[in-house]
């Protein structure tokens, strides 16, 4: 079975699982006395069943058209997944720092973390870009546009 076929089978089954979870969620939607004949559950049930059918069809079609095994490039796929998860971890770090100490420091941390993660050298220039970038963003969003940004739990009272 080649990588493409296996991806389609996995994807199809994942869609079926998502559909089942969604259908289970639909059973938890409360009934209202104001409800019409279709009701708040009507569309979710229809969508859940349809997605389960489509997911099964994608997996089934891939299974029927499976071909002989090919050399897999599994290592490459896992490396790509690790890179993606690393970048998501940078977002989590930003949220944590912003929640604690606010926008400007969190911005500098995010700029520094992502730059380094993406291969920028660990030198003064990178630190300078992160610091200056954070100040520019703060000026644009907070001072110029007057858009709400995180204040930080530790700084909120000060």
């Amino acid at each position: 079975m080649n990588a493409h076929t296996r991806r389609d089978i996995t994807g199809g089954l994942a869609l079926c699982a998502l559909a089942l979870a969604y259908l289970w969620g639909a059973t938890l939607i409360p009934q209202s006395t104001l409800s019409d004949e279709v009701g708040a559950r009507g569309l979710p049930f229809a969508l859940g069943f349809l997605l389960a059918l489509v997911g099964a069809a994608i997996a089934g079609k891939a299974w029927l058209s499976r071909t002989a095994a090919h050399r897999e490039e599994r290592g490459e796929g896992q490396a790509s997944l690790r890179r993606a998860l690393g970048l998501l971890a940078c977002i989590a770090l930003y949220v944590l720092v912003a929640w604690l100490v606010g926008y400007i420091i969190a911005s500098a941390v995010l700029l520094l973390a992502v730059s380094l993660y993406e291969g920028a050298p660990l030198n003064l220039r990178t630190f300078g870009v992160a610091g200056a970038g954070a100040i520019v963003f703060w000026l644009i969003f907070v001072k110029f546009l007057n858009v709400e940004q995180p204040i930080g739990k530790l700084l909120a009272g000060s």
Binding site: R7, D8, G11, L15, L18, Y22, G25, I29, P30, S32, S35, D36, E37, V38, A40, G42, L43, P44, L47, G48, L50, L51, V54, I58, K61, G77, A79, S80, R83, A84, L87, L88, I91, A92, Y94, V95, A98, Y103, S107, L110, L111, A113, V114, S115, L116, Y117, E118, G119, A120, P121, V129, G133, F137, F141, L145, N146, V147, E148, Q149, P150
Partner: protein, 498 residues
């Protein structure tokens, strides 16, 4: 002669010109910020209009709207992040052109198409305000349901190699749209007792996650610093031959934008996607779509810029805002004691004339303002990839947080980013999912409203001529798409055999 004197007095004796230019620049900047929609950009300047003359205030707000609709295409082309909902369709070919080193050409086409769309919308606004508004009033829930189905019918031709995967993506998009308070019964659906989810998941969050964050995740660990090809920092404005080629997709975009502007709720997204699909259908080079087609940039840009003017038609005539942005403009009118409707034309005709003149100035000023701002934007995207990725990430995070001031929104966008990354790996198209999120609520609520009206009798959809027209057109579109896909598959297999 009298009108010419009035216009001259407005141009030289009032703050109309500065208001139009400042509004336009502000709108372009706001539209270019992911997460700041046109309506939010307008709302940000609303407090500053309190002390202004009514005409200056309305011109400022309308110019912001025009600028924001154009500005949304800049990040869509340069960093695969639609600045506004309606710029999502521009991402498809605009970003492809950027990857091919043709960002300057894409931005030039988007600028030109924006001007054409805005001008067309303005002419329609002046000429057809009253008669066209009557058409909007003829729309019933059945018509809106059928319009949503017509929009969904595009999915068949936007699904790439697998219609099944396109349908799956659309269903997931519609599922996302069910999160929040049910519009008819008021009960919570999939909110997990989180107050932040009561209002649902905004389409812009889905788009930013799927388009921008997934792209950052995909590119992560790519080319090293300095090895990335630099793109030309020169805007390539279309020449006469190119303008001639773009006329057809722009015409399609203008038509779609005019219709959507008249109808409440769409905000330009439906027209942009619809015109993209129709431009491909009627193009003599349909194979170029999705691979950097100039027509694929022109059609949606003309459409969403037409909506910026045409959505003012029902607003000025009947006080019905066709979009969130039009609603902000309505707020601006009311702040200054101006009541939309026939009496607005009788009692405050100068304000209406000023709005037309100011919108015209803002439309024409798009070219010089765009030419000044775009090189700066292109310089920014030519920075080393590691720094660029970091700045795009921070821009996305800042824009997303500004939507509701909630960290949950950032988590949602990150989750959609990862979902987008998985979809890329599995060969699932994004656009059907986006259409599902945008059109899902329209289809569901109007379907249920129609059944409430008819006492659960489905024949009501066949009694409304507008609905019947849309449904028949949708069926023709789907049949045509399936026929063309089969024809293409047959051609491919024949080529292989040869």
């Amino acid at each position: 002669m009298e009108i010419a004197a009035l216009v001259a007095a407005m141009l030289f004796g009032t703050m109309l010109v500065p208001a139009a230019l400042i509004g336009l620049v502000w709108g372009v900047i706001g539209g270019a910020m992911p997460g700041l929609s046109a309506s939010v950009t307008m709302a940000l300047v609303l407090p500053f209009t309190y002390g202004m003359e009514p005409m200056t205030a309305i011109v400022l707000l309308a110019s912001v709207y025009i600028g924001a609709e154009y500005g949304g295409s800049i990040p869509a082309i340069l960093i695969r992040t639609p600045g506004t909902n309606s710029a999502a369709a521009t991402v498809i070919d605009g970003y492809e052109m950027k990857l091919q080193g043709r960002a300057g050409e894409a931005l030039g086409i988007s600028l030109w198409s924006g001007v054409v769309g805005s001008l067309f919308g303005l002419i329609a606004l002046i000429a057809f305000t009253e008669p066209l508004s009557e058409l909007a009033l003829a729309f019933k829930p059945m018509s809106y349901f059928a319009l949503g189905i017509l929009g969904m019918s595009i999915i068949a031709s936007m699904s790439g190699d697998s219609i099944l995967k396109g349908i799956a993506a659309a269903l997931v998009g519609m599922m996302i749209a069910t999160i929040g308070i049910d519009p008819l019964s008021g009960v919570n659906r999939y909110t997990f007792d989180l107050p932040d989810l009561l209002g649902g998941v905004k389409p812009i969050m889905v788009m930013i996650g799927l388009f921008a964050v997934s792209e950052l995740l995909r590119q992560s660990g790519g080319a090293d610093l300095g090895s990335q090809a630099r793109i030309a920092v020169r805007i390539v404005f279309p020449n006469f031959a190119m303008m001639k080629r773009l006329a057809k997709p722009q015409g399609i975009g203008c038509g779609a934008g005019l219709v959507e502007g008249l109808l409440p709720g769409g905000g330009g997204s439906v027209a942009a996607f619809f015109s993209y699909n129709e431009a491909r259908r009627w193009s003599s080079n349909p194979q170029e779509f999705g691979k950097g087609s100039v027509e694929g940039v022109a059609a949606p840009e003309a459409a969403n810029n037409t909506v910026a003017s045409s959505s003012l038609i029902p607003l000025l005539s009947f006080g019905i805002p066709g979009s969130n942005s039009a609603a902000v403009l309505l707020g601006g009118l009311l702040i200054h004691g101006l009541l939309p409707g026939p009496r607005l034309f009788e009692q405050n005709g100068d304000v209406v004339t000023g709005l037309y003149v100011g919108s015209f100035i803002a439309t024409m000023a798009q070219i010089p303002v765009g030419l000044l701002i775009l090189p700066l934007c292109m310089w920014m995207v030519n920075r080393p990839r590691a720094y660029l990725a970091a700045f795009v990430m921070l821009l996305v995070m800042s824009g997303v947080y500004s939507l509701n001031g909630s960290f949950l929104d950032i988590a949602i966008v990150a989750a959609f980013g990862f979902t987008g990354w998985l979809m890329l790996k599995g060969g699932y198209p994004f656009l059907p999912a986006v259409l599902g999120v945008v059109l899902g609520p329209m289809v569901e609520s109007n379907y249920r409203r129609s059944l409430l009206l008819s006492g659960d009798d489905h024949s009501i959809f066949l009694e409304d001529p507008i609905a019947v027209g849309f449904l028949v057109t949708a069926m023709i579109f789907v049949a045509f798409s399936i026929w063309r896909e089969r024809k293409d598959a047959l051609a491919r297999s024949t080529m292989k055999e040869v």
